[in-house]
């Protein structure tokens, strides 16, 4: 199911929460919408998921206009949308299994079919043995798994994840993202993932839109965004992820940015895909009269590709340095000059 947004606007009082957002979310992929808090993510997702109506603009699911649906048609359409939340939003008055049963109950599904489908779904999310558990006895990760099972009960064609991993620790986040990716493939879902964590985009999404001040400021594949960040907001997200990871663990996690010197690192070099295998730097040293002092380095693994990052000083004659950088850019390597301290 493709989702198309056309000039969406939504104002609360005098806050322009969503400003003129036009976006096409392709069918059958995991699409990320990233933004800081207050960037308008939650407002946007409420508009796309038909919880609220836009002041102006249109929402299309495939070719059907859905933002104008009323009453019964709206309720029927919502029943084919799955949604999970940061706080899980499970019914505390129901057991895990009866939470999963809820969306089926409200559609008037026959009892024995509900039973069959619920055990299928609990199996799918790996909690077949916790069906009778009261919700309060489940861990955060288990709660989100139940929420996912509940969201998928009616076999929706779209799944919205509103900060679905923000309340979870990194390990649990990882396993939930893995589950969402598996399910997306299995069920041919269009998944829209709203988040403020670049790690989530990196680990799960194929395409991404960056939201700032209620507007989409940048959009593309995750690879493009990581290798050619255009806006300050995106760069900020990326620098955050690098330093965060460096602090997290210097040695134990593979593929994070490892820093062995706390100062320096005037330039960030980003190598995309096949370039990670080429001896560009040593070639460069021979070709130009410059020296490299590598301060930090690592590889970000995307679902489809990988991006190598090096933070380095380049010393030597000013002209030579400039020529060297020009050469690097020619080779398809992204060179970014960092102001001192920015990489931290």
């Amino acid at each position: 199911m493709q989702i198309r947004l056309n000039s969406l606007c939504r104002t609360y009082g005098d806050v322009h929460a969503v400003q003129n957002v036009s976006l096409t979310i392709p069918s059958n992929i995991i699409f990320g919408i990233i933004g800081k808090s207050g960037a308008g993510k939650s407002s946007l997702v409420r508009l796309i998921s038909l919880l609220e109506k836009p002041d102006s603009g249109e929402v299309y699911y495939d070719d059907e206009r859905v933002d104008t649906l009323e009453k019964d048609a709206l309720i029927q359409r919502r029943r084919r949308i799955g949604m999970i939340f940061q706080n899980f939003n499970l019914f505390s008055s129901r057991t895990a299994a009866r939470n999963v049963a809820y969306p089926l109950e409200i559609c008037g599904t026959p009892k024995d079919e509900i039973k069959r489908r619920v055990s299928e779904l609990l199996e799918l999310v790996g909690l077949a043995d916790r069906g009778n558990a009261p919700v309060s006895t489940l861990s955060g990760g288990q709660k989100q798994r139940i929420a996912i099972a509940r969201a998928l009960a009616t076999k929706p064609d779209i799944l919205f994840c509103d900060e679905a991993t923000s309340a979870l620790d990194p390990q649990t986040t990882h396993s939930i993202l893995q589950l969402i990716r598996d399910i997306q493939k299995k069920m041919n879902l269009t998944v829209v993932m709203i988040t403020h964590q670049m790690e989530v985009v990196r680990d799960a999404c194929e395409q991404v839109a960056v939201l700032d001040g209620g507007s989409v400021v940048e959009q593309g594949t995750v690879e493009e965004l990581f290798s050619h960040p255009k806006t300050a907001v995106t760069k900020d997200f990326l620098s955050h992820i690098s330093s965060q990871d460096a602090i997290d663990s210097a040695t134990e996690k593979e593929g994070e940015l490892v820093r062995w010197s706390n100062d320096g690192g005037e330039y960030a070099l980003r190598f995309v895909g096949s370039k990670t295998g080429e001896p560009v730097l040593s070639r460069l040293s021979r070709k130009f009269n410059v020296e490299f002092n590598i301060r930090a380095g690592g590889i970000q693994r995307l679902p489809e590709n990988e991006i190598g990052t090096l933070l380095t000083d380049i010393s030597g004659d000013k002209k030579e340095v400039e020529a060297a950088i020009a050469y690097l850019k020619e080779q398809g390597i992204i060179v970014e000059k960092l102001s001192k301290g920015e990489a931290d």
Binding site: R78, F85, R94
Partner: protein, 220 residues
């Protein structure tokens, strides 16, 4: 002889009080529950079925009825009792004003219990395509059940107090007994026994209500 008389008098009065409290609880729930639900769902703040004007009107009515002194409300409602049950004196007649006086209280109690339900959970139910009726019946009421039970317990206890006051204007029951014998005929012993029975009733209701409520919470 004296003890026999006290037992007879207090026994009859207790049964009268119990029947007044039981029926007025039932009827005040029948009136107050829908009103409380309406107060909650029409409030623009909960956003389930926002109807600001209706909500304002209902809020005003409930506020006025709640701040009305009960004893005056009872007197005002006697004509209504005559229409409904055919008399304005005695236990049966008292049930009418008691139910109507307690209904706004019940509405408020129900409203505040329902408003405690996590708005996120309601949003999730809405996102899944629940109708408003399904949100009320399958989400709001079950989720708020422990608070609803505490609220209803409070209502019953209040009604025991109200029913004692109703005694002052000929309603029957333990309050009536305490006033007619204890106050007007200086029978302190009957007054004391009546008061003790009322205290025991309140205590028993409170303990049962708390038990049910905490049992519901423990199951979650």
């Amino acid at each position: 002889m004296d003890i026999q008389q006290i037992v007879n008098l207090v026994g009859t009065a207790t049964l009268q009080t119990l029947s007044m409290v039981f029926f007025s609880t039932v009827f005040s729930l029948i009136l107050g529950l829908p009103l409380g639900i309406l107060l909650c769902v029409t409030d623009p703040a909960t956003g389930i079925m926002p109807k600001p004007v209706l909500n304002q009107i209902l809020t005003r009515i409930v506020n006025v009825l709640r701040s009305f002194p009960f004893i005056i409300l009872m007197i005002l409602l006697f004509p209504l009792a005559r229409v409904i049950v055919g008399t304005s004196i005695g236990t049966t007649a008292t049930i009418v004003p008691l139910s109507i006086a307690a209904a706004p209280f019940v509405a408020r109690v129900i409203e505040s219990a329902l408003k405690e339900v996590d708005p996120g959970v309601v949003q999730a139910a809405r996102a899944m395509g629940s109708t408003n009726f399904q949100i009320i019946m399958k989400v709001l009421l079950p989720e708020a059940m422990p608070s609803l039970v505490s609220g209803i317990t409070l209502t019953i206890i209040n009604l025991i107090g109200y029913s004692a006051m109703a005694g002052a204007i000929g309603g029957g029951g333990l309050g009536d007994l305490a006033i007619r014998y204890g106050y007007q005929r200086f029978r302190t012993d009957i007054m004391v026994v009546s008061v003790i029975v009322i205290l025991v009733l309140v205590e028993v209701i409170q303990v049962i209500g708390t038990k049910i409520s905490s049992h519901l919470i423990a199951k979650r």
